[in-house]
Symmetry: C2
């Protein structure tokens, strides 16, 4: 069977990753953004890896999409009483993951090995690969606060500051892990999940060798923009701050030198022609994944789309 | 008023410290053992400091004597599910303290400064001073496992291994903090709390300059042995492993070159004569502190004892 590999960020990406994992089982793997990783209260936190792990393990918070199910907040309440920093919501059960990760990293394991260990314990059958084992920090340059780390922009300030631009600190030192390289080499189809282009997908693409490896494959991006908005997060807001009207077309344009195909929402059907004019074949479908069956349907739609397109070649 | 300073370990010591803090208010301070400190899951944990802090703040677990009141264990349950190490009981609310301590130490604050910060937030009026800001690790040499860190001996193996001896790793690098030195210099009376001699009091005495400073003062040790047993912990067991029958007298003998006075339990009244034969004046009283009034009574008894003895000089 054709091997598929997804590039994913947090909540939106994790939904589609779950869909693919159900449809493809062992022919599917995912490389996850680690540009959001940070150290908080001495603990190594990898928000996107956790979201993907929890989603695939079926233990994610069904309301928020991030964090654990059946969560309690007693530690955070105690931090609040002692007057600590509580802008980053650390649930009691979620904390266990950060503590175990920190312990294993301190022991000398790589982030790839730690993620493999956690995935095994959480009975996840899909290989989850951090984009790199080196620490990369997405820094957002904002009008209000100047340069701030991603988590402050995203969580502390609810992505309200105006983003001028962003960069991935230490990206020049980031290497693909042996495992990530192997899965990338074996994959025939690469899916860019409907994650934020600048804050989730581009950090992965910025890791040395990723673009040159995936350019040999069929690359399909899924639009995170529905109509002129994003379901979650600042993707549409960032387009607006750049003076660009958010659309599927604009997302396709960001990726146009890399992708072969594009999946846009049915509410953006009018943009199909312009996208195809850039030489990118496109699929118009319902990209909203509000339940399990929608996630599976979208994953199947995309596989059918690629299979048919490849046959047509 | 006469200034009193206590040397204390964990639960037993904290009880008497609480008694003194109620009786003396601002004329009382405490130096706490940090030989039990360790890093667990990436977090800096100071068990004795926490026990003293929680006790003085009135937020300690009334059943165990260590840890927080109204505690929950959801993080530890999640660690257990992911198959982590759960021998050290980390409560959700207790975790907040370790996380804040770790964050502040990582920022460059000393343990003394962190403890001061936490004490202020917990509205504690008694100065709590770590014995040193340097990391000292009590290592227990056991017959079964060879050398193991204190927490493994004490918590993981429930102090069941036979202790051959112990030492305080890095003690040669440990310095008194400026604050601890100042309180030590100002104090007239030093109380050795009824804590384990080898595992709680001697690490403090082993810090450079402590013995020479306290030898200028009136030093009173309170026996942790009642009859031939300890209320809690391995003090009696360690005596037995040395081939010594545990008693108040034997505790006094350990400290005989340093102390002027000794407080022994009424159940050990027969030992009073032998203790005084070593040149140590002694007070026989009820040393069991099972409620607040007992703690206050014992603290008052000791103050009266010292006051009268000093007048008799």
């Amino acid at each position: 069977m054709t091997k598929v590999l997804a590039l994913a960020g947090g909540v939106g990406g994790a939904k589609l990753v779950w869909g693919f994992s159900q449809v493809l089982r062992k022919d599917f793997s995912v490389i996850v953004n680690t540009g959001d990783d940070f150290v908080h209260y001495g603990l190594n936190i990898s928000p996107d890896l956790d979201t993907v792990m929890y989603t695939l393990a079926g233990v994610s918070n069904p309301v928020t999409g991030w964090g654990r199910n059946n969560e309690t907040w007693n530690c955070l309440d105690a931090i609040k009483e002692i007057d600590g920093e509580t802008w980053f919501a650390l649930g009691d059960r979620d904390l266990a993951t950060h503590m175990i990760r920190t312990k294993l990293l301190n022991k000398g394991l790589t982030l790839t090995e730690v993620t493999e260990w956690l995935s095994r314990k959480l009975k996840i059958h899909t290989p989850i690969l951090p984009m790199t084992d080196q620490l990369v920090t997405t820094v957002v340059n904002t009008e209000e606060f100047g340069e701030i780390p991603f988590q402050e922009y995203f969580v502390k300030y609810h992505f309200e500051p105006r983003m001028i631009n962003c960069y991935y600190k230490n990206i020049e030192k980031a290497k693909l892990s042996v495992n990530a390289r192997q899965y990338l080499e074996e994959a025939e189809i690469i899916i860019f999940c409907p994650s934020n282009p600048w804050l989730s997908i581009m950090p992965i693409l910025a890791v040395k060798d990723v673009v040159s490896l995936i350019k040999k494959k069929t690359c399909i991006a899924v639009s995170p923009i529905i109509g002129h908005d994003a379901l979650k997060g600042p993707a549409a807001k960032i387009f607006n701050e750049m003076g660009i009207v958010p659309s599927g077309y604009e997302v396709a344009r960001l990726y146009k030198n890399i992708i072969n195909g594009f999946v846009l929402d049915k509410r953006n059907v009018d943009e199909k022609e312009d996208i195809e004019a850039m030489g990118i074949i496109s699929l118009v479908t319902d990209t909203i994944m509000n339940d399990g069956s929608n996630k599976i349907r979208l994953a199947k739609d995309i596989i059918d789309f690629v299979t048919k397109s490849n046959k047509g070649k």
